[in-house]
Structure formats: C-alpha cells, structure tokens
Symmetry: C2
Subunit: 338 residues, 2 copies
C-alpha cells in the first residue's frame, strides 16, 4: 500500500539522519521538507475574480456563508471551531482544514475525495450541511450580476458563466494563499540563528521519533493518507470514517489525509474531529497513537516550540468590494420556512 | 416636536429652491446636503486594533459571528438580507443598517437607543439574538490573547482591558468607514459633468417633492427620527415599533431614525424590515407613505438613477490577521447543547 510504504521509507530516512549529531542539521535542510516559495501571480484578473467569489456569501443559499466563513483568512485559513457551522446552523461533519498552502495537498478534503482545489471548491457550495446551495443556483446568481459578468468575460472570454469557471477562479485564488518565510523556512534556507535551542531540539525529536514520516513535503503533510490510530485505536464521537467513504475498502477505514503542520499555531483545534484543543494535547496524542511513544513534558514542550516556528507570513489581502446584486438577482433564502 | 419642525422647514426650503430653474443647480450645492470628506486617521494604532476586533468572531459566543458578518464591508457595510442571522441562526428583529458613514448618524440603531458608535458597538455582542455573548466573556477572551494585550497596552496604556476600551476601539475603526467621492459629491463640489440629465432630473425631483426633508445632511439621512407611514399607515409583519420602545411615548410609535441614502445601491433590501427589495419599490413606497405622492415610472427611474450616484469610494482595507488564541483562551460555544 503506497501510503504505508511511504511511512516506513520516511521512518528509515529519519532514523538514519539521526545518526549524524550536529552535522545532521545541514543534512536535514535538503531532506524531505522543503521551504515554501513566495507566490508568483500569473493571472491577476483571475485571482482577483476568485477572491471576490471566495468572499461572496451569495454563493450560499442563505446569502450569509462564504468560503471565508469556515476558512477565515484572518484566522489561519480556518474557523478555529471543532467542526464548522453550516446552513441553518447545522453542525458540520468534520474540522474545517486550513486553506493556507492547500495547493500543496496531493488531494483535497480529509478523505481525499477531490483531486484538486478546483474540484474541492464545488463541494461546500452544494453541501446541504455547509453552504446549502446548488451549482445551478450559484451560477444563476453570479450571471445575474453585471459586475461579475464583465469580469468573467475578461478572464474566460465567453458569455456564459459556468460552475467550472467559478470553481476555477476560486482555485486560482487559493493557489496564492501560501505562507512563506516562517522561522523554520529561514532555518531551512541556512539561517542558523532562526531557531533557538529548544526549537531545534524539538525539530530533532520531530525527525527522529517519526513525526516527519507523515508530515513531510513543503506543507509538512498533505502528501499521503494515514490511519488515525495506527498503533492504538482512536476513540472519537465523530462519525467520519475517512477514506473508506470514498473507496469502500475496509482497509481505508480511519485513513485520513495527513494535515499540514504549516501555521499549526493558528489552526487550532486539531485532528479531523477537532478534539485536541491545544498543540500539547495534539502532540501527546499523536505520539501515543501513531508512534507508540509517550513524550515527556520536556519533549512535548520542545516539539510544540518547534511547531510554532512553522507560522509563515500570512497572505496580505485587500478586502474585495463585491459587485452588487441587481433587481433580477435571485434572492437569498436565509430562513427556510419563510 | 423637533423632527416634525425640521421636516416642514426642509420642505419649505426645497420648494423655494425649486423656483430657480437652472440657476437652482448652483444654489442647491451649498444647501442642506454636504459632500463626504476624505477621512483623516488620527490614531492609526487604535483604528488598527478596532479593525481586528471588528473582524474577530471570538467576540461572539459561537466564535463564528463578527461585526463584519452583518455589516459586511465587501457589501456596502450591510448583509443584504431582510433581517440578519444571529447566534444559532436566529432571525434578527430588524434590517441591519450599513456601518458606512454611520459616524454621521445623530444617534445609533433604528430606534436611536445608542447615543454614539461606541455605545452601539456593545449592543450586538451581548444581544442573545445576535452575537449571543456577554461583555464579561468578551473581555475574558480578549485579555487572554497576548497579541491583543500588547495592542491594548500600546493604545490605552493600561494593563486591564475593559469593554469600554473594546467598544472605543471598534468605534474608532467605524469612524474611518466613510465613502467620499461619489458622483453626486463630485457634482456638489462643482463638477457639472458628474451627473447626467436623468440623474439631475432625479435630484431635482428628490428635492422638490420632499425626500430631502428627511434625507439631508452629509449622510442624507441619520439626522432625525421620522414616522414610517406618515401619510398612510405602513403595513408590515415586522414587530419593531421604533422609538417608542426607547421612550415609552405613544407619539414615538413607528418613529425610526431616517436611514442614510449614501451607497443605497449597495445596501438592499430597504426599510427597517427589509421589505423593499429594489430601489424602485422603495422610492414608490416612500413617495406614497411619506409624501402622499404617486411617482410615475419616469419619475421613479430618474430618482433611482440619482440614488445610484450616491455610491462613493468604498473603504480600501487590508484584511487583518488576528492574534491567535492561546491554551487559556475560553473556547467558543457554537452549539448550545454540547
């Protein structure tokens, strides 16, 4: 199984790396975690359009919920709730993952049911527990708004707005939501002073005890599915079963996409069920369930100190001014009974 | 009664102004509507702090609703819903008025129960139908967050954060939310080409038929209470009774603060109950109920064309990055039963 193989390969790698002592630090820098590059915006008009759609609650049935409601770019690209609030205040099924650096994910959603950002973007709009709308109605709203029609024409060159274009523009905006220049990335790029002793000790422990086996790559996660509760069963009231809901294979039960650790200081609470309120709790639980390891207080503190060096520069965004609805624009339906 | 006196004084003024024909245009420019001035930010640190609080859903019980949820600065400072969605998806009692140019209001809220922006800002936080929190808990959350503590110290110079400081900072942010440079303001300042013939005809009708009697001042409204349904009773399912709920005086029944007309193209739907979906409907209803006048289609079109010249430059704001909660921060309670 691909993800399991990756796990052991990575564990092997980190153990061999741990042999080198202080010489190790340099070695690790070109290992399996890469710094986040600054973003280059290739199509500013498309990104600007996508930003408007991202912030536009008219893509929801109620006219109240936008992408940014649950992936709040003022709050690490998440909502900082255990599970999200959806249409009619329904409790969402799962913790809202950060949108930051999500372009590095090999698939999207916790269970990987979307192959890319564009496919993902269509999900919440039509999910009755989230934005509660339909793709058809979303298109109807957008194409009724002259300001949007003009922008879609400029970007896509046609008269007819489609859900495909709407999600393409949103995905183009999400592509720029990266967070370079964390202290850890500064260190990765060669600045020895960027991390202090405790943080470096935390990183060494992160590497040698096996966290890095799953949390590797640019996003330090997002590159594989892993079983939640590898060495010990994960006990939760959350009904999500992970990847099995996509594949139907029993072996995929409780297999979830490994979340990114980038900006993890901002994306509390943790896990697919949001059950871990603090980083300390998350580190302890992960050590025990995934690595059969009981970190002591000092170890937890050092790993947490390291994790807090993963907060990068947050996207600096101008609030978009949304083109107004016109008389013909279908009205939002915030209260179902009315 | 002060507001009634103002009404007739203004009507008198507009009627006498209507005598002058084309010479009138110049006369009106220094009459009872003033252009919006550019904003000068006197205390940028306080405004920046206020902006963060404005966008921070942690001032609500659920951790989901911020000031910006119902006064969305991407959407004319309103939510474009008939009545707002509050904690637990409760239907708000009244249409959410725009925050834009609200500093020009002589009092705040539709019924004027707050004397200024600072007093207003405390209302929704503690309203069980809106943000559903308490002032005490809001302070507890804010003072637990190191990033906020640092900023409050820099702005207010003391260790203890109070609700008074929180609302003061929010009000300071709201003070900068003005929208200068509308085409009408360009015209007011002397640019004859800023309005076309239809728009000018609309403005003349707005003046001569008496709209200006209530919609005067910089905000073109917000300077007096007026009875909704002056010449004919206003029929609505909305239970709000207006100013009487503050004064207890029967004469104040259905007396509401006159809303601003600035950016009215963006702040649909209209009236305290959000019952008028379009500007055309709002103009027709206002003419009939307040002025005993049945505007014909051409008149409605010209007034609406004029109203659309009142859209000013929207505040250009960087999305704030909110200081993260820490382990000690009280957790949001999005779902009451849990």
């Amino acid at each position: 199984m691909q993800s399991r193989n990756k796990f052991w390969v990575a564990i092997g790698l980190s153990v061999s790396m741990a042999m080198g002592g202080m010489a190790l630090a340099q070695a690790k820098r070109d290992a399996i975690i890469q710094p986040i590059d600054d973003v280059t915006i290739e199509n500013p008009a498309k990104v600007e359009l996508g930003k408007k759609l991202w912030f536009d609650p008219r893509l929801s049935k109620s006219g109240f919920i936008s992408c940014n409601s649950c992936h709040n770019l003022s709050m690490g690209g998440s909502d900082n709730l255990k599970t999200s609030i959806g249409h009619n205040w329904q409790e969402g099924p799962i913790n809202s993952p950060t949108v930051l650096n999500s372009k590095y994910n090999f698939v999207q959603f916790w269970d990987g049911r979307a192959k890319d950002l564009k496919e993902q973007a269509g999900g919440p709009i039509a999910n009755p527990k989230e934005m509660g709308f339909t793709h058809e109605l979303a298109v109807e709203v957008v194409e009724s708004i002259p300001g949007y029609v003009k922008e879609f024409q400029a970007v896509y060159g046609d008269q007819k707005i489609t859900i495909d274009e709407i999600t393409d523009a949103i995905a183009a905006f999400e592509e720029i939501l990266v967070t370079p220049n964390s202290r850890f990335d500064q260190w990765l790029k060669g600045d020895d002073s960027a991390l202090n002793e405790q943080e470096l000790a935390g990183y060494n422990l992160f590497t040698t005890s096996g966290c890095i086996a799953c949390h590797y790559g640019t996003a330090m996660g997002g590159s594989s599915f892993q079983k939640m509760g590898l060495m010990e069963e994960y006990v939760t009231e959350n009904p999500a079963q992970g990847r099995v809901e996509v594949t139907g294979k029993d072996a995929d039960r409780m297999m979830f996409k490994v979340p990114t650790l980038r900006n993890v200081e901002l994306t509390y609470p943790y896990f697919h069920d949001g059950a871990a309120a603090t980083l300390e709790e998350a580190v302890l639980t992960m050590g025990r369930l995934q690595l059969k390891r009981n970190y002591n207080d000092e170890e937890v503190s050092s790993i947490v100190a390291f994790l807090k060096t993963l907060t990068g520069d947050q996207p600096q965004l101008m609030m978009p001014i949304l083109p107004p609805s016109v008389n013909e624009t279908p009205k939002p339906v915030p209260f179902d009974k009315k």
